[in-house]
Amino acid sequence: MTTALSIKGLKKIYANGLTALHGIDLEVAQGDFFALLGPNGAGKSTAIGIICSLVNKSAGAVKIFEIDIDLDFPTAKSFLGVVPQEFNFNMFETPLQIVVNQAGYYGIERRLAHERAQQYLNQLGLWDKRNGQARMLSGGMKRRLMIARALIHRPKLLILDEPTAGVDIEIRRSMWEFLKKINAEGTTIILTTHYLEEAENLCRNIAIIDHGHLVENTSMKALLKQLNVETFVLDIKKPLDQLPDHNSLCMRLVDDSTIEVDVAKDAGINPVFAELSRHGIEVSSMRNKANRLEQLFMGLVDSNRSQLNQ
């Protein structure tokens, strides 16, 4: 299988002495939808910056579709589309100008650039706004404009650095559908996000960076399998002063009408309901306490920090 992105021993030491990346190795297969996660300051944006030439690396090698960026960066860059974390377009230009100009930087003639701009601005719901100044767009529209701009040269690898930050849930979900569609059409996608349910919903493989170290690199399924216990939150109909004796179940009373219960993955939830029902407790609703990936993520990051502290 062709590798869309290959990183070996990537290291970055900034001028102030801060080591942002401690020699990470990473491979992303062609066609993958890959999550690159990590807490703030973990080194994700530095890694992305190096891949797309906004940051100079201190050591290591990066290949984009087998093209070494040290040997032929222009060709490597032609495969790449980037949606950065911060808005980085001229706020006084129009969305149409921004997208068409970006096409020009990739050598795409103006006529074709206009055709594609119409296509992507339409798909992302921005065509009606094409002639107004970009600064007048809402936050969600600005994010979608950056996606349209990144796609204008039809990149084989699209890197999205927190593309849905600050975007309302409706637009976020429509962006997810759009990204799923272009991934299904063959575009490899690398996504960084702080919304872990987003990564869980969209991505097949995942890497977690913390303090410049790669602490996990596996498939989403394999990672989620590591989770042995799930916590459910149960809202009960009648208030309780205290929980009745509950045998071997791990239950807590959060407040007089909410119970939390930890359930082993292979045990199922039925014994919990049976036990509550035996005590005449009726459940009105139930939900997961936290996103599954979030629990794993926190566990991996905490474990990496304890190792670093030792």
């Binding site: 906004l54 940051v55 790449l80 377009f89 001229n90 921004i98 020009g104 990739y106």
Partner: protein, 257 residues
């Protein structure tokens, strides 16, 4: 990138630059026209007749070439420094940096943008000057080659300023404290033959003197400096500044961390 794609990238940068300064023509084209018109009125019409002839020409006719070139110089410089710094400030320079556009094309694109603004303002100022003076062209080739080379040189100078600038103050420091004094002392309003020998010699260290004299030759057929010396110095500076700018871009100075 293929040659045809490189040309598309170059034309995109140039069109973007021209669109930028024409969109804000009230800030880019109009002010130099008003300023230069004031020079024509005050120095040419009001004070000029009291000064008399300069090198055999009416004082107004003597200063017109220098004033036109001053507008070209300041606007070529201002365009690249403000446009490049603004792109850095808004991070929109990243649009270019992530693309396969070669660095030399980025540089040429910005320089052509600066050059086009310098020349556009120069043309408008020339048209305005016709109201005040009886302008004749002595040698169109020397005139046009000088204005093109000068605008290239100062667009390159503005680019360096844009690369090093970290704040809006840095954008105006060089034009205010270096460019304006050098332009005024470059023989716009006088012939260096009027100066004592020491000041004449010092004036020769001012590169703008060579450009103004070559440009004045294109209009009036007179120059304090040998034309070939003027061309050589300007070309030498262009090569040096182009190489330095390209080095800065390749190193990513001020634009890559």
């Amino acid at each position: 990138m293929k040659a045809s794609q490189i040309l598309v990238a170059l034309s995109t940068i140039v069109i973007k630059e021209i669109t930028r300064y024409t969109r804000i023509w009230q800030q880019t084209i109009l002010p130099p026209v008003i300023t230069t018109s004031l020079y024509f009125v005050i120095f040419g019409n009001l004070i000029g007749p009291r000064i008399g002839d300069m090198e055999g020409f009416r004082y107004m006719d003597f200063i017109v070439p220098g004033l036109i070139l001053m507008a070209v110089i300041t606007n070529s410089y201002a365009n690249t420094v403000s446009s490049f710094f603004s792109a850095k400030f808004q991070h929109s320079i990243e649009e270019l940096l992530v693309s396969p556009t070669p660095n030399y094309i980025i540089l040429i694109g910005y320089v052509v943008g600066g050059m086009s603004r310098g020349i556009a303002v120069g043309i408008v100022v020339t048209i305005v000057s016709l109201i005040f003076s009886d302008l004749r062209i002595h040698n169109i080739w020397i005139l046009s080659s000088t204005v093109i080379l000068t605008s290239i040189l100062f667009a390159l100078g503005g680019f360096i300023n844009g690369v090093f600038a970290k704040s809006f103050d840095d954008v105006s420091i060089i034009p205010t404290f270096v460019l304006t004094p050098l332009t005024y002392l470059g023989g716009i309003f006088y012939s260096i033959n009027l100066l004592p020998q020491l000041w004449q010699n010092l004036s020769l260290a001012n590169p703008i003197l060579y450009m103004i004299n070559a440009f004045r030759f294109g209009f009036l057929g007179i120059s304090d400096i040998n034309l070939w010396v003027s061309y050589s110095i300007v070309c030498l500076f262009i090569v040096a500044l182009f190489s330095f700018n390209l080095h800065l871009l390749n190193r990513g100075y001020g634009i890559r961390s």
